[in-house]
Symmetry: C2
Subunit: 381 residues, 2 copies
Amino acid sequence: MNEKVERIQAILDKHNVDGWIIFCHHSHDIHQKYLHEKWISSATLTLIPKTGKPSVITSRMEEMLVDEKTYDIKAYKQGNEFTELVSKLFNDISDNSTIALNFVEEKEVFTKLNYDILTSGAFKALTSQNKNLNYISANEIIYDVRAVKTKKEIENHKISAKLAEELMEDVVEPLIKPGMMEKELAAIIEFECNKRGGVAFEPIVASGPNAAIPHHKAGIGKIKENQVLLIDYGVAYDMSNSDITHTYWIGSNPNEEVLRAYEAVHEAKEAAYTKIKAGIPSDIVELAVRDKFEEFGYDHEKLYIHSTGHPIGIETHDIGVGIRKSYPDRPAQNLLENSVITVEPGLYFTGEFGIRLEDDCIVIKEGVIRLSNTPKDIVCL
Amino acid sequence: MNEKVERIQAILDKHNVDGWIIFCHHSHDIHQKYLHEKWISSATLTLIPKTGKPSVITSRMEEMLVDEKTYDIKAYKQGNEFTELVSKLFNDISDNSTIALNFVEEKEVFTKLNYDILTSGAFKALTSQNKNLNYISANEIIYDVRAVKTKKEIENHKISAKLAEELMEDVVEPLIKPGMMEKELAAIIEFECNKRGGVAFEPIVASGPNAAIPHHKAGIGKIKENQVLLIDYGVAYDMSNSDITHTYWIGSNPNEEVLRAYEAVHEAKEAAYTKIKAGIPSDIVELAVRDKFEEFGYDHEKLYIHSTGHPIGIETHDIGVGIRKSYPDRPAQNLLENSVITVEPGLYFTGEFGIRLEDDCIVIKEGVIRLSNTPKDIVCL
């Protein structure tokens, strides 16, 4: 039996849910990839029942992508056959069963966007198939599947972070030269990530003032001497993503402002690590970072415009508990044992430069296992 | 004024729609990228009104990704500010306005999956903001924006196809060797695509029997001598994707079966080109391909398990008119002048091998402009 399916069936049992249905087209629901470990692009429905053999409805062109040992497969040739197969599947489910779908309730949508996956047309079409079923949001199931990592996933995260660190030091850093296009460097990084398993996300390569834009992508601008260069990238290894950010100096003498900001960001990261531990509310970590910036005299409200960390997994911004401030209507959650998160303080000086240092770690009972280590001192290239 | 916005405003005017709202998180709605020409990952709402300046609500961390000359930008720091800004935007729209959203009606969903983009939670949350507005599906607007290409898009498709052809012949083919992993070759192809603008989709590199799986991705299997090698890839150049498939022979003497299937597929492609022309129903082209397979004695119902072509654009499987059979409940549409489509017949022998040849072309009044030309005879590597 497939280990993933077994784990999900135990989670369904815990939540008293009779089945979980994942419906997607154009591979837009990551849980389809999670289950089948492949991209399936045609309209495809997967049903994991609480007990028994899961089933899949997919196109005849892609049925060979589904593991027939794990799944009962029904293949369609064209749209109306698909509709009929979907209808039959829903009507074969026992009355009054509780079926989880990847949607969230209207009032929660803006706080649970990560779980708002099923498209509106599909939601209406699926839930109208059989009115005798009870449809609930799959968010608790998704949380249990993804927030805490399995042993295998933790091992994969270790590999994924190590591969990312190595490719940067061994291969990419020696190639970086002033005059290179940001995009060219991004292409090299993607290539090296792909050779090691895959690209976690389109790398950010941000030179000089572009480094002050946290989500700048690589553009046609050139890497210049006497500027910072920020690179945010990750390897996707067996569906476990890493996510690391380096900030370099291009040239031999970084200016004082850059040196001081780098030191502050590095110390903020270290301050975070002294606090991270399973069970503590994440805002304690966030505050430690912001206190450190204050100590250095930086206005963190203005210069540090994102939160300190997010869970990583099959998605780079994964489901689970990250590191952020507490708000009256949205208190910070407690860090989870065996979750994998980023720690990524930064300082952004619009129009001038930005510094971000991002490492990955495993949250454990005793504190933290670091998976990557961006350097204490800025590296000059 | 931004050209894209002007064009969309003319389309809104034609359909008597007062505004088009694109809402997405994690960049899942391609129209957000179409408008902003960048990936924005935080929850972001874009409103294009029929007249006047468009507006955007996005996170403070990504507001610098939006062009402030074109858009009024409101930035939020956290979730509840976003909710308030969205609510204000909806309530500032005049009563009885017609607002298009990227959803489809329930009864049409399985035939219009390409337009079923808005998530179910977002759909409910947005349409409940202001009950005095009239919400309609944006499918006609999306169709008008994307099915027929602008002059600039057509020029980009020419470049994109040319770049894809050149990188394969000049760079990739000389590197292909037996013993190479499919994934390694895919990484090289992605690298070369990235250097030329971007990757249209994760390349298919399918060796031997894997070539019989139309949507096989590159795996850890090795490229072997005396087998076919199928490569399906494309360059994304300034948001115009190419999509090309080559089938090679690894070794010096392709066997008779492979030679004959390659010849049939090539001739089927040529038969398609003799028919393609703006205004004709696309099933005429599909039938020409299937007739050619029959002429060669192949059972196309069994061996040719997909249709002959799809529109390409900002998405590799774009919105518009492709080439396919006619069904009683779903007649074939007429080919559109100035649309860009693929022509990709194939023959798939499960467990043995597969042949597909795929080229891109522009549909014009007089017939077709070919953008790529896979070779008449199988290339031996």
